[in-house]
């Protein structure tokens, strides 16, 4: 699958020849597989003439770009000031232990979840907050976490 670039070529075609395209191009390219593989970045370099080092430089600079495969569901844990003073750390601990993540890992072994920290989701009045895919969960306590995660596990079984 890695070597089939039909979808990617269609995206590159839309951007070719315009200035300042690299970031939106990479954002769209990432949507195909959920991350940017080295093959994808090399292919973009070949097709656009942008140096591979520049592409890698941009991909590693911005937190949105992922260089590793991501889980089916993305859990964003808010680390904004309001969440921090509302003990977001205990929510993170609860997530890490419920997902059985090993130190240094952000994705579960079954590739169902990827856990990441974000600076602020802008829903400070609901602190502490997490976002799973596009759904926001607010006013959380560590005890509420397992039940929330279960909803996503259940969907997978179906």
């Amino acid at each position: 699958m890695d070597k089939d670039f039909t979808q990617l070529d269609a995206i590159i075609g839309q951007y070719r020849g315009r200035p300042g395209i690299l970031i939106p191009l990479l954002q769209e390219a990432q949507q195909i597989q959920g991350y940017l593989s080295k093959d994808v970045m090399r292919h973009i370099a070949r097709e656009t003439g942008i140096a591979a080092s520049d592409i890698y430089g941009v991909a590693t600079f911005y937190s949105m770009f992922k260089l590793k495969p991501q889980g089916r569901h993305i859990i964003r844990i808010c680390k904004g000031t309001a969440c921090h003073v509302s003990d977001a750390d205990s929510i993170k601990d609860a997530l890490v232990s419920a997902l059985k993540l090993k130190a240094g890992d952000d994705t579960t072994d079954d590739m169902n979840f990827t856990l990441m920290e974000v600076a602020c989701l802008g829903c400070c009045s609901l602190a502490p907050v997490i976002m799973i895919d596009d759904t926001t969960y607010g006013k959380l306590s560590p005890e509420a976490i397992p039940a929330i995660l279960e909803r996503y596990a259940f969907v997978e079984e179906q």
């Binding site: 430089g57 911005y62 904004g80 309001a82 600076a119 602020c120 609901l126």
Partner: protein, 588 residues
């Protein structure tokens, strides 16, 4: 049956609190109910009351309900129709008592005037409120006269630093170049700040109108709105607004029949806080790593792709149409002499009325927190208010009578910033707060300047060890020295202001640092490593609940006998404290 209108607030904060379910419940009800007009709006600012529903047209007049539950909303609507709605849940009302009416009284709304009032997806709603009249007026003026009006208004950049907007505009207007750009900085990255998100979600046309006027005044024909990708609804509303404005001839070629052309694009950020800095933001629009560059040359002379460029933040742009419509003198009547106008703040943390407010400059912090913000959320007393996010500082209770204007806030060591205001109570540890912000700036440093890259790391290490009870007496001096060098040795605002959270907490809360370092004690009871758990013999009944929960098995004692915690082995996790049902464990 008499027609009533129902409006549901569907901004991000409302949706996160469940407003969509409320909206859908009413939509379903509407299918077999007559005389009901269902609309959506964005955020009135009272995030703590979301989901909010506004009812109008009934005998009880216009009123808003807070914390609406999808299961109960239909009964409420029917009671309202009969004119029998009780006052529970009524937060804002014209004719009857609303529990939160007082929170709006201290506010002056220019930027947020349409937020939570109009449907942000409808250009007709915006036009009905006088939208795009300022553009028509501006296009009949000479460009230099518009710049003069903005200069006379005394408007200062709302992004944080407070540079005079008129001055910035005149530099870009005078700069030579065939091609010029205007940019809207919507890369709102300060944790605890969501003013720009709400403004863009709630009234996108107002920001766009300001940009079109600015482009005409400065001679630009192309513009960018650089918006955080974490704000999908804001981006969505902007895209829709741009398309509608193009259809009506407010944007694009030969605007409103004149020779003025202006094209507006949206650029989504990709997650880098430093891109809020204007030179880094331009690098990012050009598709590069967002690293700041040396100024001069300033963007007004040499900006995007080498062309003269003007960059203002969302709130600054959102002031423009009002100033053109009402004139510089009317604007100067609000606020203070040196800081005219209003400021939008995002209230968060331990405050009862968390959400978005717009107040005249010159109001005191005390007024904001205790009147407009509704006071503290918990019973614990007020300790500090954090302003300006990672670039700002913590202002203590003794300075609560400070007035809100650029110069007075700067004098405290904090900064006005973009408008994040996080209220902290006695349960917040100030060393931990400083460590939190340093951790943030350390992560977000782009790495270009050595002092910012490594200096913030060293400061973070020192702060971390202080919170772990390993602080040394010399650490305070080391922090101060590093702070001063980072300020001097950094190119952009991120590095130059990164030490502020540490410097202000050291200035106002030194006792807390000393308690951590000398007594190995966290007065607020936040720093885990410094918390000591002890069993109170008289209260312990020997139920063994704590011993069973302890992950390191450091609690001993026979059944029905008082238990004992081995302090040597204890990892301070607090599991025993939570497990005890008899309040027999002391935390301190």
């Amino acid at each position: 049956m008499k027609q009533i209108s129902v409006k549901v607030g569907l901004a991000s904060c409302g949706v996160a609190a469940g407003a969509m379910e409320v909206y859908n419940a009413i939509k379903e009800y509407k299918e077999h109910a007559e005389g009901l007009d269902l609309k959506q709006t964005a955020c009135i600012g009272m995030c703590f009351e979301e989901p909010i529903v506004e009812l109008d047209g009934g005998a009880q007049g216009k009123l808003s309900l807070g914390k609406v539950d999808p299961a109960g909303i239909i009964d409420i609507i029917e009671a309202y129709r009969r004119g029998e709605l009780t006052q529970a849940n009524v937060i804002l009302a014209d004719e009857i008592e609303g529990s939160r009416n007082s929170l709006l009284e201290g506010q002056t709304r220019i930027v947020l005037r349409n937020c939570g009032v109009i449907d942000p997806k409808s250009i007709d709603d915006y036009i009905a409120k006088g939208g795009y009249l300022a553009l028509q007026k501006a296009l009949s003026m000479k460009p230099e006269d518009i710049v003069n009006v903005i200069t006379e208004s005394g408007l200062r950049g709302r992004g944080g630093a407070g540079f005079t907007t008129g001055k910035k505009w005149s530099l870009a207007a005078e700069a030579e170049g065939k091609k010029k750009y205007v940019v809207c900085n919507a890369d709102e990255g300060d944790p605890g700040a969501f003013m720009d998100r709400s403004t863009l979600e709630g009234d996108p046309h107002n920001v766009i109108e300001g940009m079109i006027i600015g482009a005409y005044a400065m001679g630009a024909d192309e513009g960018y709105i650089y918006c955080r990708a974490e704000y999908p609804m804001a981006i969505n509303h902007l895209k829709l607004a741009i398309a509608r404005a193009e259809e009506r001839g407010f944007l694009g070629h030969k605007i409103l029949g004149t020779d003025f052309n202006f094209e507006l694009h949206i650029k989504e950020g990709a997650g880098a806080f430093v891109c809020g800095e204007e030179t880094a933001l331009m690098q990012s629009i050009e598709g590069k790593r967002g690293m700041p560059t040396i100024r001069p040359p300033y963007p007004a002379r040499c900006g995007l792709w080498g062309c003269p460029t003007n960059i203002n933040n969302v709130e600054t742009w959102a002031n423009i149409s009002w100033i053109i419509n009402h004139g510089a003198q009317e604007f100067r009547k609000i606020g203070t002499d040196k800081s005219p106008g209003t400021k939008v703040f995002a209230l968060a943390g331990k405050i009862a009325g968390s959400g978005l407010i717009e107040v005249p400059m010159g109001i005191t912090l005390r007024d904001i927190i205790y009147n407009v913000g509704g006071g503290m959320k918990t019973e614990k007393p007020f300790k500090a208010v954090q302003m300006g996010g990672p670039s700002g500082g913590c202002i203590p209770a003794s300075l609560l009578d400070t007035t809100v204007d650029y110069d007075s806030i700067n004098a405290t060591g904090a900064i006005m910033g973009s408008g994040g205001m996080v209220v902290m109570d006695e349960g917040t540890c100030m060393v931990d707060v400083a460590r939190f912000f340093l951790n943030f700036t350390q992560n977000e440093s782009c790495g270009k300047c050595t002092f910012c890259r490594i200096g913030t790391k060293r400061m973070l290490e020192i702060l971390t060890r202080i919170t772990e009870g390993k602080g040394e007496p010399e650490d305070i001096e080391r922090l101060e020295e590093l702070a001063s060098n980072i300020i001097k040795g950094s190119l952009c605002g991120l590095g130059q202001t990164a030490p502020n959270p540490v410097l202000t907490t050291l200035r106002y809360f030194k006792d807390e640092y000393l308690a951590h370092i000398e007594e190995k004690r966290c007065p607020a009871g936040v720093c885990t490593a410094l918390i000591r758990y002890e069993i109170i013999e008289d209260k312990c009944i020997g139920c063994t609940a704590c011993a069973r929960k302890c992950p390191v098995s450091c609690i001993s004692g026979a059944v029905k006998q008082p238990h004992f915690i081995d302090q040597e082995k204890c990892i301070h996790c607090g599991a025993c404290y939570k497990a005890c049902k008899f309040n027999a464990i002391r935390k301190g």
